[in-house]
Amino acid sequence: MTPLRSARTLRMLATLALAGTLGACAPHTGTTLATHGRRWFGTISPPRANVLRFNLGAEPELIDPGVTSGQTESRVSRILFEGLTSSDPQTLQPIPGQAYRWEISADGLTYVFHLRPGLVWSDGRPLGAEDFLWSWRRALAPRSASRAAGLLYPIVNAERYNRGELDDSTQVGLAAPDDSTFVVRLRAPTPYFLFLTSYTTFLPVPRHAIETWGRTWSAPGHIVSNGPFLLKVHRQNERLEFARNPRFWDAGNVRLDGIVAYPVDDLSTCVNLYKSGSVDWNPSGYIPSPFLPLMREYSDYVTGEYQGTYFYSFNVTRKPFDDVRVRRALNLAIDREAIARDLLKGTRRAWGRITPSGYPGYEGPPQIGYEPGAARRLLAEAGYPGGRGFPKFSILFNTSEDHRRIAEAVQAMWKRELNVPVELLNMEWGTVQQATVALRYDVTRRSWIGDYLDPNSFLGILRTGDGNNRTGWSDPRYDALLDAAARELDAARRFRLLAQAEKIALDAAVFIPIYHYSTHELVKPYVRGIYHTALDVHPLTRVWIDRDWREHEAIVAAPASRAGRHEARGAPGAPAPSDGRPPAGGAWRR
């Protein structure tokens, strides 16, 4: 670290103003280093111990995979537990986990999983099909109050049992005919089911520990797990420490001795910790928005598309939003490109559809564009020529600088193109949630992140009566298409049905899509095996610290090898292909 001191001082002074308002981490280059002509954000010395340290972003509400649903909790659960399937760290495609093979019946309704022989919990007790049976039933039991129990609903009778309409858990389509065979019966073919089996809610939990310790079963000293790492220390709001699990079936390929996760919720602090080398990985979501454009010049900044969309939704139970022409007019009057380009500095992609990109084979309907002329015509048809007589309404959003700026832009566009009176209504998050659920709003900011790699994860929320609908909109044709898609075995035909459903929802203009989410992470050059993924899920089983990363940098463009040796593809710092397409693995850097 021997940069020019005078330059450093100048830059430091120049960044003081920004630091004062945003937290002190304006990325000045005085302390960045370069290797092989590439620049890194902050220190680049590997940690002394063979341990990965990362920002967790928030304190996990509880460690109980069957019950929780948040991203933070999922991240912790996947470190500690492994499901029937696991996820490929680059593509997230299902790979064998606790089950080493499975069969799917010709009608797509029965899955038979074969567990690896000799599986054990971290305390040495044998782990078998009965454990999965008990864990899944527990997740479905009403008294567990599982947040994500809905993901199990494709299973026969799961929904009825979870809703309390059925008392007998043996009626749920799950069976363990012997120790190593687990059978799942679905009520309809579910093409994405193998993605689900690696999801948090589907992880096995230790019955014996839960029955012994009750509420505190997952505290260090009590917890028994079956994944690559064990929980050693958990101090609230301070740290979680994990150590390698010697009894994990694939322990030989786990190369880290441990992992430390810091529940830091201040975004500027997250970046500070990364820059100073206190953490080696700053996952997506923990960089303050204004810094994103500045990060592009660094090679440890990894960005790519994320399965999420940012949109506004209408409350169609209120006038004049019950009129589809009004909704379409407001939709067509928004210049999404300008928002993405000027406001978000190109850090996210303008988007005019409900489902995000990234479902191979899914051709969604054409995106809603920017057509102010058509918008004005529609509004006139609806009885508000030139915006005359249009009632005053509000955009409701929760407190955040980004939300405010976008709402102001939308307000200005609606005023300019349609001359309608809009006011901004900023409330704290909990209040916004309540107002949205109770349909006490006109237009509100929302977002949706996919749970699994399938358009259904998005389209399902607009079903009639779905708890996440929150618009009052309902269309029997839409519901029927989703039902038909759920019964369809042929993948291409199923996607066509889903695309038709999405077209109905887009034509009804219930949502105003604005942008497509992206992930923005920082990964130190010596960390191998962390890739950009569309769901922002990162299996850490085979991640490792590469102490000779500088030597490997020279060959970083060489063909990839399997995880566990030098990672080239998607390894931090892999150059983007010259044609600008993302390299295999999906990551591109700007």
Binding site: S276, Q433, R446, D466
Partner: protein, 305 residues
Amino acid sequence: MTTYVLRRILLFVPTLWVIATLSFFIVRLAPGGPFQSEKEIPAAARAQLMRTYGLDRPLPEQYVRFLANAARGDFGVSYRYPQRQVREIVSAGFRVSAELGGWALLLAVLAGVPLGVLAAVKRNRLADHAVMGLALAGVSVPNFVLAPLLVLIFALTLYWLPPALWNGPASRVLPVIALSLMYVAFIARLARAGMLEVLGQDFVRTARAKGLAEPAVIARHALPLGVLPVVSFLGPAAARVVMGSIVIEQVFAIPGLGRQLVGAAFNRDYTLVLGIVLFYAALLLVLNLLVDLAYAKLDPRVELS
């Protein structure tokens, strides 16, 4: 003296009851509830949670149950972190905040009192102006500006100290300095004012007339009375500082009580909010009592009644 202390302690009960009652109803006035999320929780799960925590009972019944449990010091589990008792969370957070605050206050006294005394003794001279200028800066610069500045200089430019976390002695340095600077300034100003008042009094003149050396006059005669304003400031200051500074804990990712309180309020974690508020109230009452007792000890003119 004993009677006085007992009477004060008896007064704690109605005071805490009023605070508990107000807090109980105010947290419930906030829109939303503890079990809300961007993604809908299934209705069955929500109903189960409401039952588990007795939130489906009528409000008066909830209030009575809350008071009965609170009287035993039992606030139940946190709604947000159901694997933890409120008691555990409060005591863990308080230990951290108290340590941070304790160091900050110690630094503030050790730096502030000598600076104030120096300014008083060198009244209207360069040292006085320098100290008072510093004190003015210390009072004026808010810690949400000071903390990031310290991080920028010492953690991200010089790489001497970690920028955050609660992770060994090095990680304590910046937050302690950031938290204490304002108190250093306050204490310096109070000590100066107190000393100036005392230095002009007859008994100091008498001590000098008796031929005592100036350092002895200041240290033995003037200082005990001169720091009285500092002592009375220390009580409320200690209460404030050990409860944790929200800004400092946020910027430095310190697992203290201040951060917990903010999080609990946003999460509508009723039990945790009430636990922290009542703990804070009790602490404030005790600290105020201790200050009054210390005051009586230091100043023979004060009578406890």
